[in-house]
């Protein structure tokens, strides 16, 4: 059983709440396509990281380490921005 949700009289005015709520809201299941990362091609320029609107490019010690599929909505901006040639380090694949 989940906790009963609060009623309108007790909620914060204007739905203004503590920052950071998006972290708890898993939007990964909205995807129709997913970005796939090919580490061997990656030059760690982090264009994908700075372009991602959902902070879903995982980075450690200034190197890309993977994709947060819990939050990635599959917009494809990371693939579009990836400068690696001839084959990009990120490619879109259909979700099944």
């Amino acid at each position: 059983m989940s906790e009963p949700k609060p009623g309108w009289k007790t909620l914060p005015e204007g739905d203004v709440v503590q920052a950071g709520t998006a972290e708890g809201f898993k939007t990964g299941d909205w995807r129709s396509e997913r970005p796939l990362w090919f580490p061997e091609r990656c030059i760690h320029c982090l264009f994908c990281w700075i372009s991602c609107p959902d902070s879903s490019i995982l980075v450690k010690d200034q190197k890309m380490t993977g994709i947060d599929y819990d939050h990635c909505k599959g917009c494809g901006i990371c693939v579009k921005e990836c400068p690696v040639k001839p084959d990009k380090a990120l490619e879109m694949r259909p979700e099944r």
């Binding site: 949700k5 609060p6 009623g7 309108w8 909620l11 005015e13 204007g14 739905d15 203004v16 709440v17 503590q18 920052a19 950071g20 709520t21 998006a22 809201f25």
Partner: protein, 390 residues
């Protein structure tokens, strides 16, 4: 000490804005409201106010910038009209839901089409369901006074809703009128030095999220407080009006009754038409006809109980709507009043005149014809267009 000067409605609103000295104004020019923000922009350029003036590329951006500045904690104002207001429609209910006390000067002008720049209330009436307080003005003085009061009303913790103060396009906005202006200090003391916002998007020590996704499980709970705040605002509007009257001598309410006490034939109107109707009421009273006028100053919140109380004793009532809801049941004011009267066991006869669309003049003969119709009300259709060629 207040002083009496000559000002147009737009100049009066710009003067009130100068005295209010908001933190941020974001606006885009549109006839007949252009002058308000144009004059105010000059005040900014001349250093007469401390306002950060944001010149935006559209009214949609204007209202978006107002919302952004307001969630940062600023005291925010804007001005627009007609198509400009319509371009803001997408953002207006967001401002209400976020409980932002943005105050807007809204000059009533017909919505296109056909394209038209003159007065009717179609723009403002279409915005009636967005959670904004709506105050109509009969003249420049009321526009000036109500704009100052609107800051207090909107920022009251019991309200925290945006508010629009309207004038009638050209009829008020561009007509020179005698108005009494308060001292700058009197205005500042009345509204308070600054807005006291509970949170600010710029407060990095207490970061907040604003404008969240709110689905089946919470959206409803975040809309009902807007209704409650609107309901509670009635008391606040009256308190602010009472204090204003006590300090500056001009009395305001939700409504104004003119020779209503023993009136049998009552017209109901909003805005500048009320001044014309008062002349006809005086004429008819001189002839022994018990005519009266009910002016609605505050349309949102809708003062239903007060209107019912004011109309209960009348024999026949004509509601004058300067806009059509296209429902075939009459204008917005009429349908809301009819709804409010439903519970009364003994009701006056009530008819509706839709008049003055696109700035069509409403003159004394037309208003005389309204009172003539009331004296033979049984023969009248529910809804009539007044002053249109067939």
């Amino acid at each position: 000490m207040s002083k009496i000067i000559a000002r147009t409605g737009n100049e009066a609103m710009a003067e009130a804005m100068r005295q209010i000295n908001p933190d941020v104004v974001a606006a885009y020019p549109i006839t007949p409201a252009t002058e308000i923000v144009m004059i105010f922009a000059k005040y900014v350029a001349d250093g007469l106010v401390d306002t950060n003036y944001i010149a935006v590329e559209s009214e949609h951006s204007a209202m978006s910038a107002c919302v952004g500045a307001s969630v940062a904690g600023a005291r925010v104002m804007t001005g627009t009209s007609s198509q400009g207001l319509a371009l803001m429609y997408e953002i207006l209910p967001i401002a209400a839901a976020l409980r932002l006390p943005i105050v807007m000067c809204d000059v009533n002008r017909a919505l296109s089409g056909p394209i038209n720049i003159h007065c009717d209330h179609s723009d403002t009436m279409a915005a009636r369901d967005f959670g904004w307080i709506q105050i109509f003005s009969e003249n420049s003085q009321e526009a000036y006074d109500s704009l100052i009061q609107a800051i207090r009303i909107a920022e009251d913790p019991r309200v925290h809703l945006p508010a629009m103060v309207t004038t009638d396009g050209f009829i008020i906005s561009h007509c020179m009128d005698k108005i009494e202006i308060l001292e700058d200090k009197e205005v500042k003391d009345f509204i308070g030095q600054e807005r006291k916002a509970k949170t600010s998007l710029l407060d990095i020590n207490n970061p907040v999220s604003v404008g969240l996704l709110d689905l089946q499980d919470y959206y409803f709970e975040h809309r009902v407080p807007v209704a409650q705040a609107m309901k509670d605002s009635k008391k606040v509007i009256l308190e602010v009006a009472e204090e204003f009257g006590r300090k500056f001598g001009r009395k305001y309410g939700l409504l104004e009754g003119y020779k209503l006490e023993d009136a049998e034939f009552v017209a109901v109107a909003l805005g500048s038409t009320c001044g014309t109707a008062k002349v006809v009421v005086d004429e008819l009273r001189g002839k022994g006809v018990k005519a009266g006028l009910l002016k609605i100053r505050v349309f949102r919140p809708f003062p239903a109980e007060e209107i019912v109380a004011a109309l209960t004793k009348a024999k026949a009532v004509a509601v004058l709507d300067r806009s059509d809801s296209w429902s075939s049941q009459g204008g917005q004011v009429s349908t809301e009043i009819r709804s409010a009267m439903y519970e009364l066991s003994s009701k006056p006869k009530m008819i509706n005149f839709i008049y003055g669309l696109g700035g069509r003049e409403i003159d004394l003969p037309q208003i005389r014809s309204v009172y003539s119709a009331l004296q033979a009300v049984d023969k009248q259709p529910l809804v009539q267009y007044l002053g249109v060629r067939e």
